[in-house]
Amino acid sequence: MVLIHEQASLMSEHGHVLPLRIYFGVFFALLAGTALTSWVATIDLGHLNDAVALAIAGTKAALVILFFMHVRYSSKLIWVFSLAGFVWLVLFFVLILADYETRVPVQGWG
């Protein structure tokens, strides 16, 4: 118990307060990602446009969650919580698409 307490206070004294360069680094990375995604959208990559835009958005989201929201420096429990919502959402999307993408019009049923 004492050990856990000491660990926790150490974390809040040292691990939690991030140096300014991390915040500004993430900020400029997010701006670069925004410029990149707007630029890539003007190039026709066919179906890859969607994948590239979502990959860039996913990377930007990960940066915000890990650094601005401090999840990188948080407890395992917060990790699990922050992931749970997104995992559920992906499950949701996959099952919905599995339905809509496999529907075929049935002859004679309008």
Partner: protein, 219 residues
């Protein structure tokens, strides 16, 4: 914003660290619920875009990519100032935190101003389903689905920003008056988490509404 303790430890917690951890965890539980809320809207988008890809290409091509990009930058900037506000509170600099929250509020207002400008253009172009809808003879039969989703999704996002602005007034006041300390700044931290979540939603809304479908299957 569960922390109402004026620099004190609530009686049901053993340490301030435990109290802060429980508070942040509760905020994350709330944010998961928010993920579900916006997830429902994103699912509607996914289904209708799958069913009517041409309508989404046409709708997306009407949105101003430059204003959308600019607004994304503004919102990312507001996330930075909010992160710096939380850092100020962590270090016990209440006035510093309050000023960064004020900067965040200014950027949020710039975002909402640009958003309002876009809305007014849509109204002028008669592209508001249900209220002012006259997209012309070349419009896809399902174009109204795209614009209905555009207004509902960006509208819900803007509503979250307005709620965030109201919370910022409360937290900035308390921070300015020295209501937080390095071991007890849960109000600022939760406000930060909320604001970064609002930023996250926009990070996905921007490509899905403004960019995706620009080079999809053209009708």
């Amino acid at each position: 914003m569960s922390s109402r303790t004026e620099g004190a430890l609530a009686h049901h917690f053993e340490t301030l660290e435990q109290q802060a951890e429980a508070g942040a965890l509760g905020m994350w539980a709330f944010l998961i619920q928010e993920v579900m809320f916006f997830g429902g809207l994103f699912t509607v988008y996914l289904v209708y875009r799958t069913l009517h890809p041409a309508a989404f290409v046409q709708g997306s091509a009407h949105l101003p990519i430059d204003l959308g990009t600019l607004n994304t930058g503004v919102l990312i900037g507001s996330s930075l100032t909010m992160a710096l506000a939380v850092r100020g509170a962590q270090l016990g600099r209440g006035k510093n935190a309050a000023l960064f929250i004020l900067a965040t509020m200014l950027l949020a207002c710039v975002f909402l101003g640009i958003k309002g400008l876009e809305y007014s253009h849509k109204w002028h172009d008669q592209l508001v389903p249900g209220l002012n809808w006259n997209p012309g003879p070349d419009a896809d039969a399902h174009l109204n689905l795209f614009y209905a989703l555009y207004f509902v999704m960006t509208g819900c996002h803007a509503l979250h920003m307005l709620i965030g602005l109201a919370l910022m007034v409360v937290v900035a006041r308390k921070a300015w008056r020295g209501g937080y300390s390095p071991g007890n700044f849960l109000g600022v931290e939760c406000l930060g988490l909320y604001w970064h979540f609002v930023d996250l939603v926009w990070i996905f809304l921007f490509p899905l509404l403004y960019l995706l479908g620009r080079h999809g299957p053209h009708s």
